[in-house]
Amino acid sequence: MSGFFATRRSAYASILAVAALLALTPLATSANTILNAMVLALLMALAGQGWNILGGYAGQISFGHAVFFGTGAYATTILQARFGLNAYAAFAGAIGLGAALGALIGFLSFRSGLRGSYFALVTLAFAEVFRIVANASAFTGGAAGTLLKLDVRPQNFQFASCATFFWVALALVTVVMIATRALERSRFGAYLVAIRENEDAARALGVDALKVKVQAITLSAAITAAAGAFYAQYFLFVDSNIAYGTWISIEALLVPIIGGLGTTFGPLVGALALQGLAEATKAVAGRIPGADVALYGALLVIAVAFAPTGLQGLTARLRRGLSLGRAS
């Protein structure tokens, strides 16, 4: 029994240790550019954490997580700007709407038996439909987008200091990491992995694959919608190309794949690495538009070529290599 509690404690201790260490960042630097980059990294980590539940654990690769990110962003903005809701209530509403949309899209797609590339493409199409409609409809502000009124007060979820946003984002990411770790250790998590590894076998063993996958996409969508809602709250503006753009679908899948697919820390590691890479290439080649991003893309290809199982896989390989070297 005591052994059980010991492993339990160590399983969560590493998450809290990493979070505590990261929480010190604003004390080490007061430079807004660095803090802003960190907020963006955490935002992408959060979006990627959502993607990772569905893509990493359940093995259902989505190309359209922008549909949840964008719905979260629009929902929090419109609930406040048009319906006068409190910012925190709107944030919760955005997560709820994102989850509901996830359940709907998941139910429709999984009930039709869409797997692999087909599922990926249907999510992409859903994101595009939402983008086109949001861009044309008056309710979402059309192509001009929707603004949130600037009124910097904590009760409005608007903070004067970048550091506060950083801590809020870090808290969200940490909560999701703890939830992910709990999921890993739960029966539900085992069902997800079983479906990822072999759906037919999982079904034969009595796993209700449709139900489990719909639950996974609902949770996944809720987390990514939270990232979108936080984005809107941070920038106080949303338009269709930001909210439902393909870039966000791509970043949401890039971050966990780079960091380590189906791992608790993967999205955070990937987001910090990619944001660092983006900042570094901007510093080296930022003067010519496009050159920094081209360099970023090239480094991405090289990273995949040399670390095919993600950064965490790379460290595991290095460690194995080192211990082998020591043994011989």
């Binding site: 690769i61 429709l108 797609s109 039709s112 038996g113 869409l114 590339s117 087909y118 990926a120 493409l121 249907v122 992409l124 199409a125 859903f126 595009e128 439909v129 086109i132 409609v133 861009n135 044309a136 791509i250 899948l253 890039l254 794949i257 780079i258 697919l261 010519i288 538009p289 496009g290 050159a291 920094d292 991003v293 081209a294 970023y296 893309g297 090239a298 991405l300 290809v301 090289i302 995949v304 070529a305 095919p308």
Partner: protein
């Protein structure tokens, strides 16, 4: 409601647009059918080819002539990209292929942006603004040419796949990679050849597209999503399916633009796409997935 002439005109216009969609989609479906990868770099390769055609035209070579040089050039580039970049870098894992083609598209698009800026460029051809009068509709010449060239390329591709040994090898690899390798087919080579053919098709598409379209570093992107739709509608990996699917999507876009208004024209495409996936995921023309 609209007068029947307007509807017929919209359908014909849609077929002309659809021909270019078909050409772009044939390349995508071929690569998907054989390599089983979703090539994210597809749009970027198209853009690169459009830039190549643009500079050929600046140098005084008509795109329709440049086509004969650019198609082999892009075949070689595509072959090399698959053989020396995508293949080795992806270690055969699907998620890695995805990342590598994504990375490639980022590199190509932004290298073009760094080199040429984000201005949209157009070219002048002697036939750019000429039309064919059918009595109730004027057909723009460049798009009629695009339609003709697409039909020709589709026929050539069909002949290649069914009548030649390389075509047989490509189809064998698409069906059963391991079996093909066992009877002595060089799978790595066939992969690269297929990717090369895809890139060559894109070069042809770029050459017929340019006289009536514009080029800038993200010009190809609009075609990528449409091509995905067409490929799924036609049944993934099916070349005739992609041709018919492309024409069909062109008509759908044209008609939904007519009925819903220009800004929602592409909405019809994606709604049909979603419905098709949910109701008939093996494609409208494909018997199998």
């Amino acid at each position: 409601m609209f007068a029947p002439e307007i509807v017929i005109a919209a359908v014909i216009n849609g077929l002309l647009t659809g021909a270019v969609y078909a050409l772009v989609s044939v390349a995508l479906t071929l690569v998907y059918g054989v390599l089983h990868i979703i090539n994210f770099a597809h749009g970027a390769i198209l853009t690169a080819a459009m830039f190549a055609a643009f500079f050929a035209s600046q140098a005084g070579v008509d795109p329709l002539v440049a086509l004969f040089g650019l198609a082999p050039l892009f075949f070689a580039l595509g072959y090399a990209t698959q053989r020396y970049v995508i293949g080795p870098a992806s270690h055969g894992r699907d998620s890695n292929i995805l990342l590598v083609t994504l990375g490639l598209s980022i590199v190509i698009e932004n290298a073009l942006l760094a080199a040429f800026g984000s201005d949209t460029r157009t070219i002048d051809t002697p036939y750019g603004f000429s039309t064919i009068d059918l009595g109730f509709i004027f057909l723009p010449m460049p798009r009629v040419i695009a339609f003709g060239v697409t039909c020709l390329v589709a026929a050539l591709l069909w002949a290649l796949l069914t009548r030649t040994d390389t075509g047989k090898a490509i189809r064998a690899v698409a069906k059963e990679k391991l079996g093909a390798a066992l009877v002595g087919i060089d799978v790595t080579h066939i992969y690269a050849v297929t990717f090369g053919i895809g890139a060559a098709c894109l070069a042809v598409a770029a050459c017929v597209l340019l006289p009536s379209y514009y080029v800038q570093p993200r010009a190809g992107e609009a075609y990528t999503l449409v091509a995905f739709t067409v490929v799924v509608l036609g049944g993934m990996g099916s070349v005739p399916g992609a041709v018919i699917g492309g024409l069909f999507i062109g008509v759908v876009e044209s008609l939904s633009g007519l009925y819903f208004g220009e800004s929602l024209g592409q909405l019809g495409i994606f709604l049909i796409f979603i419905l098709a996936l949910l109701l008939r995921p093996t494609g409208l023309f494909g018997a199998r997935g």
